[in-house]
């Protein structure tokens, strides 16, 4: 089996080193940018495996080759981008990490215009600092892609329930809260806000008329 692996984030590049050694894979190429992908002759490959990839693959690519990716949410409302941040801000600490298919649907507003189909899933813990969560994503992605490849080509696709609620993708400006708003948030809400925006994301920050205070790292101590 010949695969194209799409990854550029630190946590996802570690997944490639593992997956390329899967017994069913005899040829693999790593792409770190969309331009690199565009230069590849897709006909020579069987599958695109996308890991933490932000760019849309688009109709031209998906009409020529099958593609799968990993998505770290259970609820459909988090299908539009920034799923980690939005779930943590919403107070979710346990979710799913899933293999989903890039089935191009030009009418879908979801990220990667996908249609809610998933094949394999594992539990994902969203408590802890961002470095803990990203380390976990590396491990769960290895498990998910391995299981998919183990079962390939007999893949059973399931559909997650569609919701009307939409949690929109976050913008860098959303990482900044006004000083006056601090007192309206609980200690736990502040913790969730800042921890989900730790490096490598645009850090959570507090702004006033004189400047911006970036909160790079926080910790929460629950009274026992």
């Amino acid at each position: 089996m010949k695969i194209i692996f799409l990854a550029y984030r630190d946590w996802s590049l570690k997944v490639y080193e593992y997956i390329r050694r899967h017994p069913k894979i005899n040829n693999s190429v790593l792409c770190k940018t969309h331009n690199e992908l565009l230069k590849i002759d897709l006909k020579k490959y069987d599958l695109i495996i996308s890991c933490g990839w932000s760019d849309e693959l688009g109709k031209d690519i998906l009409n020529k080759i099958d593609a799968i990716g990993v998505h770290c949410a259970e609820l459909d409302r988090y299908s539009y981008g920034s799923p980690l941040q939005l779930q943590i801000i919403d107070g979710i600490t346990r979710t799913k990490h899933r293999v989903f298919s890039f089935t191009y649907d030009e009418n879908s507003p979801r990220a990667h215009t996908h249609n809610c189909l998933y094949s394999h899933e594992v539990e994902l813990d969203l408590s802890g600092n961002m470095s803990d969560i990203l380390e976990q994503l590396t491990s769960t992605s290895k498990v998910l892609f391995s299981r998919f490849l183990d079962d390939f080509p007999t893949i059973e696709w399931r559909k997650w329930p569609v919701e009307e609620i939409v949690r929109k993708k976050r913008e860098p400006r959303d990482s900044i809260i006004q000083k006056k708003d601090i007192s309206t948030m609980s200690t736990l809400e502040l913790y969730n806000f800042f921890r989900c925006l730790e490096d490598p994301y645009p850090n959570g920050a507090i702004e006033d008329e004189h400047g911006i205070l970036f909160i790079e790292k926080v910790r929460f101590l629950k009274k026992s």
Binding site: I182, D208, G211, L213, E216, L221
Partner: protein, 229 residues
């Protein structure tokens, strides 16, 4: 000269390992813990010309300071910020440029005669940076001292001037939500950065006793570009 160095914190030990190479130091002993001090110090002290204390936390008996030349450093422009937690008190009060002072250890806490001072920069978003600056300034200060000694005279401190502060307690690392209304973000930044590791971190506590600890922060004044956008 025969010198005894007493210090246990990593920045102090880094300084000791460098300054012990000074050409005027013919032999040196290093006391790097309280246990080490209790077991070795009394045997060594009679043979020493000078005893240097760096960030030492335990009381040095008058019997030692009255009979031997004992010097130590204090990270402030003495007689200002004598007493405990000088780095924290200065940073919270908005001091960025200060001195590290080399003084004779006497029974008056941080009130001994001043031998030399050297510039100390209290900028930087973490104590890791601030302690690195302290290490660098103290090393320069001690090098100057050993270069000039014994042709150098200490100057008496005017203790009617300056200021004295108590050592900060863990509870003083608390930030109240009302502080965000009454203080500027720069003041809050200074408060948080001077309480980064290894000190008790700044925290917000809710009514249930849960604490949000601030581990690392950065401040960008409004006239600069927003980082990471």
């Amino acid at each position: 000269m025969k010198v005894i160095f007493c210090g246990y914190r990593s920045w102090a030990l880094n300084i000791i390992h460098e300054i012990k190479k000074h050409e005027k130091i013919s032999s040196c002993e290093i006391i790097s813990s309280k246990d080490n001090y209790d077991s070795k110090f009394n045997q060594l002290v009679s043979r020493a010309d000078l005893i240097v204390f760096l960030g030492w936390s335990w009381i040095i008996p008058n019997e030692i300071t009255n009979n031997h030349l004992c010097i130590g450093i204090h990270p402030s422009d003495l007689p200002y910020y004598r007493g405990g937690s000088p780095l924290q008190h200065q940073i919270i009060n908005g001091v960025i440029k200060t001195k590290v002072s080399l003084m004779t250890i006497s029974e008056k806490l941080d009130g001994g005669d001043i031998w030399l001072k050297h510039d100390l920069d209290l900028g930087g978003s973490t104590n890791e940076t601030i302690l690195k600056n302290l290490e660098k300034s103290t090393l320069a200060l001690l090098n100057n001292f050993f270069n000039d000694f014994p042709h150098i005279d200490p100057v008496k401190q005017d203790l009617t001037k300056g200021s004295y502060f108590k050592r900060r307690t863990i509870d003083q690392s608390r930030l109240d939500l009302k502080d965000f209304k009454t203080k500027s973000l720069e003041e809050i930044y200074n408060f948080i950065r001077c309480l980064t590791d290894p000190y008790p971190n700044a925290f917000i506590e809710d009514k249930n006793g849960n604490k949000l600890l601030f581990k690392e922060v950065q401040f960008v004044p409004s006239d600069k570009e927003i980082r990471k956008e």
